[in-house]
Amino acid sequence: MTAEVSVAHGGATVLAMAVTAGAGLAACALTLLAEERPVRTVGIVAAVAVGAAVLSGWRWLGSAATLATTAAVLLAAAISDDVGPGHLVVASVLLLVLVAGLDRVERPGRSAGSVVLNRTRLPRRAGVPVLAVVATAGVAVTATAPVVPSAGLVLLGLAAGLGALLVATRST
């Protein structure tokens, strides 16, 4: 039983490492859309940092990799016209996967012998990230769409702001 648990645990860790590295490298690959050398340089540095963070499991390196990847994507979007809001939505998803994956692969998170006793089900765990991605896509669409100011749009914005305030201040 113990051996089976450890084998399953080891397999899940390898899978998490692969997914995390894949997400981080894919986010860095967005910089290839830009022609500028500084953008690509930052992208390569970020990719190296992602690989090192996943392999070493060092927490500080994970934070550095996250920051470097974010900086690379932002730099590409800021300098190059080839990187648009759609790419930023994809980058946003990849960064979420990278951040969530680093939790799994970092040393304190994979301490030998620890047992997961209870975990919320996948649909419930995925709910909030999906909501976040939908919101990101909505903002991206709004950012690219020609918006004509109107009373309805202002009211919709106010309602959204009030809803966000209620969500953020609710208590048990």
Partner: protein, 435 residues
């Protein structure tokens, strides 16, 4: 019908106690905040509003997981059973965690040296979450298993709280096993027991026949012998007597690898001998030499076994304090006619001195050498090889001295039976020292 495991589970669930959770931000929260801040800063600096798109997802995640929604307490039950055991016995640790409103609950069990712990069963998804470990201590002593570290993650993985739950102290008695059969000398003090002696008495072991006399019982008449001799003969039986064994433990030094060190072998042999002889209603006493002088006067019964077990557990606590020798013991600890078994690594003169003293006082004695290793010598070191030779010669000298005293010596590595050596030593007891 409720099976045993279900009963155990329900019993544990009743013991859940409430623990306060102190949540702190996880790296995930900090990284999401960094992404959001970097995106907003990038949008402002570059004057390109669409860069703020990258900040939306982290901000949504942070907004929907406020700290105020986190659970404040968690209910946890834990039980380690039994708290007293013998080496290599299996203990069971059960853990139940009832943590509503959390995302994930993890548990990690810290185990001391020379102890194995394996996850025996787990039940995820249930309420409360349940795990069971099989803990096997391989070395005697008193130590703590644990703590059990429970990590509770909540707020979509943005907050985590850790609880270190201490467990009770476990007492692991040395595993004596069967190190000897209860052999005893043929001549024993007049005390009722289970060993057949040379004296005639009312036991069950046949000891001979003699002519019928006044007062003899008719049922003791040996009809076969009477018919042959044309005269009445009665059967005689050996008296059943008890035996007094005093175990002298030389615990001044501990040498060898942990788990099979001289101290480990000494306490295992002592426990095994005590178990064997107390099991046949003999009297067993114990004396610890080295450190402070401790003793337990010979007595019989299960209570004495418990006291001996507790006594040998104390020997590891001794430090360099030097107590007295055998001569300082009260007379009751070494009663006349007792047989003494001295367990020693023979690494200093104390054991030899004790053997000389005991022999001079007329006690039957067996010395058990529990040293199974030699000192490590640096490879290629001539001085080291010389020191090893001197060390071996000193031990040979101790052995020769014991032989001169007429004390049998047995080298014991923890695996053999001590019965043969005990019997040999008992037969070697001089007639004048017998009771």
């Amino acid at each position: 019908m409720v099976n045993r495991s279900e009963r155990t589970d329900s019993m544990n669930e009743h013991r859940l106690t409430e623990h306060r959770l102190e949540f702190s931000a996880t790296p995930r929260l900090r990284r999401l905040a960094v992404i959001a801040a970097a995106a907003v800063a990038g949008a402002i600096i570059s004057a390109r509003g669409e860069l703020a798109v990258l900040a939306v997802a982290p901000l949504v995640l942070l907004a929907v997981s406020p700290r105020s929604l986190l659970p404040r307490t968690v209910r946890i039950g834990r039980r380690l059973h039994p708290l007293r055991c013998v080496e290599d016995d299996e203990l069971t640790l059960t853990l139940d965690v009832h943590a509503p409103g959390t995302d994930r609950v993890e548990a990690l069990l810290a185990v001391p040296d020379h102890t194995d712990a394996g996850l025996d069963a787990e039940r995820g998804g249930g309420r409360p979450a349940h795990a069971r470990w099989a803990v096997v201590p391989h070395r005697w002593g008193r130590y703590r298993v644990g703590p059990v570290r429970v990590r509770v993650v909540a707020g979509n993985g943005l907050y985590a709280a850790t609880l270190d739950l201490p467990l009770e102290q476990v007492v692991v008695y040395p595993g004596g096993g069967t190190v000897a059969r209860a052999t005893a000398p043929r001549e024993l003090p007049a005390r009722l027991g289970e060993h057949a002696s040379r004296a005639i008495g009312s036991g069950v072991e046949f000891a001979g026949v003699r002519p019928y006399g006044d007062g003899d019982r008719r049922r003791d008449i040996d009809w076969r012998t009477s018919a042959r001799q044309q005269q009445l003969f009665v059967r005689q039986y050996a008296a059943e007597r008890s035996f007094t064994l005093v175990l002298v433990l030389d615990v001044a030094v501990d040498a060898g690898e942990p788990g099979r060190s001289t101290l480990d072998l000494t306490v295992r042999a002592a426990t095994g001998l005590a178990q064997t002889y107390l099991g046949v209603h003999d009297r067993v006493g114990i004396v610890s030499l080295g450190g402070s002088l401790r003793w337990l006067a010979p007595a019989a019964g299960a209570r004495q076994l418990h006291q001996i077990a507790e006594s040998v557990m104390q020997v590891r606590l001794d430090d360099s304090e030097v107590g007295g020798g055998i001569d300082r013991l009260p007379p009751g600890v070494l009663p006349a006619g007792a047989f003494v078994c001295l367990l020693s690594p023979l690494l200093d003169g104390r054991a030899l001195e004790a053997a000389r003293d005991l022999r001079a006082r007329g006690f039957g004695l067996l010395v058990v050498d529990v040293l199974t290793s030699e000192p490590d010598v640096p490879r290629g070191s001539a001085a080291g090889r010389l020191a090893l030779r001197v060390w071996r010669m000193e031990r040979e000298a101790v052995r020769a001295e014991l032989a001169t005293l007429g004390v049998p010596l047995l080298a014991w590595d923890g695996s053999g039976d001590l019965s043969g050596a005990l019997l040999h030593a008992m037969r070697a007891m001089r007639p004048e020292v017998r009771a």
